[in-house]
Amino acid sequence: MADTTTPNNAADQKTILIAEDDPFISRMYQIKLEGAGYRVVVKNNGRDAFEAVKTEHPNLAVLDINMPELSGLEVLSALQNDNFDFAAMPVIVLTNSSEITDRNTAHAYGAEYLVKAELTPREVLDIIGAKLGTAPAKAAD
C-alpha cells in the first residue's frame, strides 16, 4: 500500500521504523501499519536500523532482537551511547525470544517488550497507536 493511499496528510504522517530480518514478517507489519496511514521504514539489520533512527527520525521504532550486524538490544545500547533521547521515540522490542534477561534489558531502556507470536499485526498496530497517542486507524475495518 503506497503512502498516497493514507488519509493523513504528509505533515502529521508519523514514521515507524521496523527493524526485522524476516521479510515475511516485516512485510506483514508494513502492510498493516501503512494501511493505518503510517509511513513505514523497514530495515533488515541492526546497523541500518541504527542509521535509520538518525536519518529518518522515526516517531516510533519496532526492533527485533535477533538480527544481523547488531541485535535490537545492541541498537538500543548504541543509541544510548550517542545520548539519544529515548523520550522522543518510543521503542517496542518485538521478538520471539522470551528470555527474561532480554525482557529486563528492554525494560531498562524504557522499551515495551512484546512476543511476536502471541500478537496479531492488528494488536501490534493497536499498541503502537496507544504509544503514539493516535486514534486507531479506521482503514482495516
Partner: protein, 720 residues
C-alpha cells in the same frame, strides 16, 4: 663261704649281663649297642671279681685282683667309646682309646705289672705300674664324662633327655660308689664296700632305658626331690652336730652330768624337729626355682585359654592370643598356626623367632597325623621334614567334621622334650581351639561378605550417581533443545498467525462466509500452537530455574473478558454456551503477572470448552476479601477419581482426556498451579467424573511476599 654281700655282687653281675644282652639284641648291628654290651660285660666282670675277692681264700686272690683291674679298665674303655659314639663328640680318638684300653687291659692280666700279691688281710700289694693304670682309667672316664656333659649342654629334645638320664644313672652309681668305697672307708667303715658295685646296675639300666625308649620320663622331679632332701639332711645334720659339739664343749667342760646333757639333747631335738618343716619348704622352693623354671599348671593354662577363646571373636586376635598363651605357658621358642579354608591356606600366625625355613603347603599336607612329635618318630620322611624346619611337634586341628589347620611348635626354651603333660594339654586345648577358630572364621567370613556387599552397594550407588548426573545433563540438553526449538517454531508461526488474522480482518479483500470460517479455524489452531509453545518454554524455564513472576497492576475483569471473547468462537462452533459472570462491584487492579495469569485463564476456559460436548462453560470472577477468585465451571467429562491426585503434575493426562484430545501436552494445569502458587495463590479444583469440573484460583490483590523472593524460593513457597 658265700655271704650275703658276695651273693648280691654275683646277682648284680648276672643282671648286668642280662641287661646288656637284652638291650644289645634290639639292635645288634649298631656300634652303639655293641659298645653298650661291652660296657655291660666289663661291669659284670668287675662286680663278679669283687664278689669272688670276698669269698676266696687270700692266697688265691691275686688273679682275682688282676681280673678286677682288667674289668675296671674295660669299663673305662667302653664308657669312653660309648659316649663318643652316642654324643658324636670325639675328645679322644677311637683308635687311641682302643689302643690304650687294650694295652692296659693286657698289662693287668700279667702278674707283677700292677700288683704283686695279696696279703692275708686281703690288701693288694701294688707296684708303681698301678699309677699308669689309674691315669689311663681316669683319662678314659673323664673323657667320656666330658663328652656327655658337653652333649647335654648342646642337645635339644629327645637327645638331651637321653643324655640327662644317662648322666643321672652315672651320677647315682658314682655317688654311691664314692660313698661306700671312698667316703665311708675314710671314716674307717669298711663293712659296706661291697654295696658300691651294686649301683652299676642302676647306671646300666638308665643307659639302656635312654637308648631304647622314646618318650622318657621327666627327671626333674627325681632331681628336685633328691636335691631337697640331700640339702635338708646336710643342713640339719650340720646344725645339729654343731650345736651338740659346741654345747658339750661349753657346758660340759668340767662335769659330765648326763642329766644335764639329756635335757639339752631333747631341746636340740625339738629345735631340729621344729625347723624341719620350714627348712624343707625353703629348699623345695629353691630347688623348684632351679628345676621347675619352665613348669606350668595345666589346669591354669586351660582356664586362661578358655578365657581367651570366650572373650575373642576376631579370628586374627584369637590366633595371636591363643598361640602366644600356648607358647608362653609351655615355654616354647617358636610356634605357628596355619589355618585352612577350602583346602587353601587362609591365615598364618607366628610366635617367637621364625625358623630359617617355613613349611609350604605340600609339606604341611604330609603332616596328616593328629599329633606328630619329631623325637618320637624313629626316622623317615616326616621326621626329616620336621627337623629340617625346626618343628618338634605338629598337631592337626580339627573338629569332628572339619579340618581346621595345623599347629606347629618348635623347641622348648629348656631344650627339653615335649612331656606327657605337654601333649595331654595340647590335645585338650587343640580341640577347643579348632572349634573357636571355626566359629571365628565363620564370623570373619560374614564380615568379609558384609564388606564386599558394602563395596558393591557403593559401586552400584556410584554408578547410579553417574547415571543420574548423566540424566540431569540430558534433561538440561532436552530443556535447551525445547527452548531453542520453540523459539525457532515461533517465527514461521508468527507469519502464519499474522497473515491469517489479516485475512480475517479483510486486509486481503472481503472473504466469503466459507473462507471466513476456514480461515477462522486455521487462525484458532495457530493460536493454540502459540500457546503450546509458550507452555513448553515455561516448562523448560521451570527446569532451568529461569521461571520468574513479573507483576504489574492488572485489570482482571478486562483480562477475562478478552479471553472469553477470543474463545467464544470456539465455544460457539461446538454448540456450547460460554458465559462470563463479572463481579457486581468493580475490582481494584491486581498486582499479578499479566502474561502468565492470562495464559492460566485461557487454559482453564479452553480446557472447559474442549472437554464439554454439551451444556455450558461458566466463568465467574468475584472478590473474596483481599483476594480475587476465579472459577471456570463446565458440564464436561469430569476427572476420574484415580487421576485427581496427579492431575497437576508435569505431562500427566487423564485417560478420558486423552481420548477426547489426543494432542494435549499435559502441561497446562502443571503450569497453572505453578503460576498461581508462585504468586501466593491457591488452585481451586473439584470434579465429578461424567458430570463436570470446576477449575479456578484465588490470587491476592497484592503479593504477600516480594515477588523476587517467591521466584527464588520456587514452587515450595505457599504463603497462606
Amino acid at each position: 663261704m658265700i655271704d650275703l654281700p658276695s651273693l648280691l655282687l654275683f646277682v648284680a653281675s648276672i643282671i648286668n649281663i642280662l641287661i646288656g644282652l637284652s638291650i644289645f639284641f634290639r639292635n645288634p648291628r649298631s656300634k652303639l649297642f655293641i659298645y653298650y654290651l661291652g660296657l655291660a660285660v666289663a661291669l659284670a666282670i668287675w662286680t663278679s671279681t669283687n664278689g669272688l675277692f670276698r669269698i676266696l681264700p687270700a692266697e688265691s686272690l691275686l688273679p682275682i685282683a688282676l681280673m678286677s683291674y682288667f674289668g675296671a679298665i674295660l669299663v673305662g674303655m667302653f664308657f669312653a667309646l660309648f659316649n663318643a659314639e652316642f654324643t658324636g663328640i670325639r675328645l679322644l680318638p677311637n683308635w687311641a682309646v682302643l689302643a690304650a684300653g687294650c694295652l692296659v687291659a693286657v698289662g693287668s692280666l700279667i702278674p707283677g705289672v700292677y700288683a704283686t700279691g695279696v696279703t692275708a688281710s686281703r690288701s693288694i700289694v701294688t707296684t708303681d705300674g698301678i699309677l699308669v693304670f689309674a691315669a689311663v682309667l681316669a683319662v678314659l672316664l673323664l673323657g667320656g664324662l666330658t663328652e656327655l656333659l658337653r652333649y647335654i649342654w648342646r642337645a635339644r629334645g629327645l637327645a638331651r633327655r637321653q643324655a640327662q638320664i644317662m648322666a643321672l644313672g652315672m651320677g647315682i652309681a658314682m655317688a654311691m660308689g664314692l660313698t661306700f668305697n671312698l667316703v665311708l672307708p675314710l671314716f674307717h667303715i669298711y663293712g659296706y664296700v661291697y654295696l658300691g658295685p651294686e649301683f652299676t646296675m642302676v647306671y646300666l639300666g638308665a643307659l639302656g632305658y635312654a637308648i631304647i625308649r622314646t618318650r622318657l620320663f621327666d627327671l626333674r622331679l627325681v632331681f628336685a626331690r633328691s636335691a631337697t632332701y640331700f640339702l635338708l639332711l646336710l643342713s640339719l645334720g650340720a646344725v645339729y652336730s654343731t650345736l651338740v659339739f659346741g654345747a658339750s664343749k661349753i657346758v660340759f667342760v668340767d662335769s659330765a652330768s648326763s642329766a644335764n646333757a639329756s635335757w639339752l639333747y631333747t631341746l636340740f631335738a625339738l629345735l631340729t624337729s621344729f625347723s624341719f618343716q620350714p627348712l624343707r619348704r625353703f629348699f623345695e622352693r629353691a630347688t623348684n626355682n632351679v628345676f621347675y623354671r619352665y613348669h606350668y599348671d595345666s589346669q591354669e593354662v586351660i582356664n586362661d585359654f578358655s578365657k581367651i577363646l570366650v572373650s575373642e571373636l576376631d579370628l586374627d586376635r584369637i590366633l595371636k592370643r591363643s598361640l602366644t598363651e600356648l607358647c608362653e605357658s609351655l615355654h616354647i621358642q617358636f610356634g605357628q598356626l596355619i589355618i585352612y579354608n577350602d583346602e587353601r591356606v587362609y591365615r598364618v600366625e607366628h610366635y617367637g623367632q621364625l625358623p630359617r625355613r617355613l613349611m609350604v603347603a605340600p609339606e604341611l599336607a604330609r603332616l596328616d597325623k593328629p599329633m606328630l612329635v619329631a623325637d618320637e618318630l624313629s626316622g623317615g620322611e616326616r621326621k626329616q621334614l620336621m627337623e629340617n624346619h625346626g618343628i618338634r611337634l605338629s598337631m592337626t586341628l580339627r573338629t569332628r567334621e572339619q579340618f581346621v589347620g595345623h599347629l606347629l611348635l618348635g623347641d622348648k626354651l629348656s631344650g627339653d622334650i615335649y612331656s606327657t603333660q605337654d601333649i595331654d594339654l595340647l590335645e585338650i586345648v587343640g580341640k577347643e581351639l579348632a572349634v573357636a577358630i571355626l566359629n571365628a572364621k565363620a564370623y570373619a567370613q560374614i564380615q568379609e561378605f558384609n564388606l564386599t556387599l558394602q563395596a558393591r552397594v557403593e559401586h552400584a550407588t556410584n554408578r547410579l550417581r553417574v547415571a543420574n548426573r548423566h540424566l540431569k545433563e540430558l534433561d538440561r540438553a532436552k530443556d535447551e533443545f525445547i527452548s531453542m526449538a520453540s523459539h525457532q517454531l515461533r517465527t514461521p508461526l508468527t507469519t502464519i498467525k499474522g497473515y491469517l488474522s489479516m485475512m480475517q480482518e479483510g486486509d486481503a479483500g472481503k472473504l466469503t462466509k466459507a473462507q471466513q470460517e476456514f480461515v477462522g479455524y486455521a487462525f484458532s489452531s495457530s493460536e493454540r500452537m502459540v500457546n503450546l509453545i509458550s507452555d513448553l518454554l515455561n516448562v523448560s524455564r521451570l527446569s532451568a530455574g529461569r521461571f520468574l513472576i513479573q507483576t504489574k497492576p492488572t485489570d482482571m475483569v478486562q483480562m477475562i473478558r478478552d479471553e472469553v471473547r477470543q474463545l467464544n468462537n470456539h465455544a460457539t462452533t461446538k454448540g456450547i454456551k460460554l458465559i462470563f459472570e463479572p463481579p457486581p462491584e468493580p475490582l481494584p487492579p491486581a498486582e499479578i503477572d499479566d502474561n502468565k495469569t492470562r495464559q492460566v485463564v485461557m487454559n482453564f476456559i479452553d480446557n472447559a470448552i474442549y472437554y464439554t460436548s454439551q451444556g455450558e462453560v461458566r466463568v465467574m470472577l468475584e472478590q473474596s476479601g483481599d483476594r480475587v477468585r476465579l472459577e471456570v465451571r463446565d458440564t464436561g467429562i469430569g476427572v476420574p477419581e484415580a487421576a485427581k491426585k496427579k492431575l497437576f503434575s508435569k505431562f500427566f493426562r487423564a485417560d478420558n482426556a486423552q481420548i477426547v484430545r489426543p494432542d494435549g501436552t499435559g502441561l497446562g494445569l502443571y503450569l497453572a498451579k505453578r503460576v498461581v502458587e508462585d504468586q501466593g495463590g491457591t488452585i481451586i479444583f473439584n470434579s465429578v467424573e461424567g458430570r463436570g469440573s470446576t477449575f479456578g484460583f484465588e490470587l491476592p490483590f497484592k503479593p504477600v511476599t516480594p515477588i523476587r523472593e517467591v521466584a527464588h524460593h520456587g514452587r515450595h513457597h505457599h504463603p497462606k
